[in-house]
Point group: C2
Chain length 287, copies 2
């Protein structure tokens, strides 16, 4: 697995980390970066994450054999449109967007049909930090990456993208676009929304300063993800809207049941619910 | 600060950890343990956490100058009743219950009035594990302990209990009973209930096995507290029912607003909510 020229559009946490991982494994010749801000890109050069940059996506993709699009979901369509006329004919394109239906839609609109050499992908890895300064080569090690190729996606392109992530230490799996969006709405998007809502709710209490002061470890862990980037999460909420709304509704049923058990002082029911949840959690997330 | 004979009723995570901390600091002569199960207590002896034990609370408190009650909230009243006739007249009693109004009520009922030498307390420390095997001496180091003495509580008793926790490395603060219960409902009880409801909700999805498989770091942190003891959390929900219901209702307002913004595809509003939450979180929980 060797890439001659990799173009990364969006050299932030995810794009920067993949560049670092590939370089650390000597799997790439030249890395060309691209984003809106020359300052951010210069920082990426200074950090040794990319070799050179161009703020014009059209210029940046010229001659690249692999193009990684790692911008916020809301910028995908515009980026696809900008790079379209300048892509090398055999260039493989992949992305890292947290919702796949929306990326497929964006490609549909920008290219007038999803190109066979576009492989939608999503690394299940990240932190609540963003920007190239937060990137590190080990981010994807032993983490999963989900690829959601379509029926007509080129098998060789899929293999190339698979190799990319495996080089970075990840385990690659494939699933359907809709299935991906549902699984991620449950395991990532819902928890983020609940963490944001919790912190926002407590911040509205008049004794909020004191409240955060007495927040212990459990609370810190629970709300860490509310430190994530607001724009990225706006984009995810809009991009995976239906699946997210479905998961919130599903969650509301359980929260209401729990609330009613507390209201009714139904201790037996509370133990039942808590035990079932504890079992599910312990089974799937060993200490 | 030296205790001649400390009696710990409930030698689990909290009671065991305090015993370990006091012994490590050579602050205690003899430690007598008490709970329902002789097997658990023998384990505590084997681990060097207590010197000896009695499964009869009445026997266990005999001659103790300090009694620490560290049983689940639901067992408090019964324990108070059992020890009442056998307490040394100058013995100081304290507890570690996660809700203080309920402990005060339990004492009221058991003693026919809250004794002046009973100091209600609550260490803001813990893990999702329980039992004496999970206890460790450093649990309270640099953590806060809240004492909620009443107007007639003996000042010397408060000082003794303060010394106990300070010896274990904690910072001790005082606040009113109701205020404590409200602050803890917000920072601890609400997050636990949401984590339990989230895990339970996802476990009900038909693709639950797969869903948990793709759960990444953020999800693990978010749901770690759903591994906590179901009986302890039933007791807390019943003991702090009003404040908890109030916090759930308060949270529901914010979750509904967020859901409506997603429904309406209101990106501006989403960024506003997420940014406010991120600000609150970053301000209070530095990385
Ligand atoms: N963070 C996670 O946990 C995580 C996990 C999996 C997938 N993802 C997905 O990965 C993608 C990137 O996330 P990230 O965490 O790496 O974010 P990030 O650290 O904020 O990086 C985003 C990058 O995109 C650039 N950018 C933003 N708007 C752009 C535009 N209109 N045109 C060109 N470049 C633009 C930014 O640079 P400039 O400001 O210089 O433009 C920045 O380099 C998102 O689609 C997200 O859904 C994130
Ligand atoms: N864990 C936390 O994060 C945390 C934090 C702050 C405060 N607290 C409070 O601390 C208290 C104890 O919690 P923990 O985490 O230490 O629980 P734990 O590890 O389960 O310990 C509870 C202990 O109480 C004993 N016990 C249970 N029922 C009893 C009864 N009816 N009579 C006598 N002993 C009984 C148990 O032993 P047997 O099974 O042998 O009876 C066990 O030793 C609770 O009130 C809780 O609200 C917990």
């Amino acid at each position: 697995m060797r890439i001659e020229r990799l173009c990364i559009i969006g050299v932030g946490l995810i794009g920067g980390s993949l560049a670092r991982a590939l370089r650390a494994n000597d799997a790439v010749g030249e890395v060309v970066g691209c984003s809106r801000s020359a300052e951010h890109l210069q920082q990426a050069v200074d950090l040794g994450v990319i070799d050179r940059y161009d703020t014009d996506p059209a210029q940046a993709v010229a001659g690249a054999d692999l193009v990684l699009v790692a911008v916020p979901m809301g910028a995908m369509e515009a980026v696809f449109k900008q790079i379209r006329p300048h892509l090398a004919p055999d260039a493989v394109i992949t992305d890292v967007g947290s919702a796949k239906g929306a990326v497929v839609d964006a490609a549909q609109k920008a290219f007038g049909g999803v190109p066979a050499n576009l492989v939608p992908g999503h690394p299940i890895a990240g932190t609540e930090r963003s920007g190239v300064a937060a990137s590190f080569a080990e981010l994807f090690r032993q983490r999963r990456v989900i690829l959601t190729p379509l029926a007509h996606t080129d098998a060789e392109a899929v293999e190339r993208v698979r190799g990319l992530w495996e080089t970075a230490g990840a385990e690659v799996v494939e699933m359907g676009v809709e299935h991906h969006d549902r699984v991620l709405a449950a395991t990532s998007h819902l928890p983020h929304i609940l963490a944001y809502a919790t912190v926002d709710s407590l911040a509205r209490l008049h004794e909020h300063d004191e409240i955060f002061q007495y927040a212990a470890g459990g609370f810190r862990d629970f709300t860490r993800i509310a430190g994530s980037d607001p724009v990225m999460w706006r984009d995810i909420c809009l991009a995976n809207r239906e699946a997210i709304l479905e998961m919130i509704a599903h969650f509301q049923v359980d929260l209401t049941a729990l609330t009613e058990a507390i209201q009714a002082r139904d201790g037996e029911r509370l133990v039942e619910i808590f035990s079932r949840a504890k079992r599910a959690r312990d089974e799937h997330a060993p200490r």
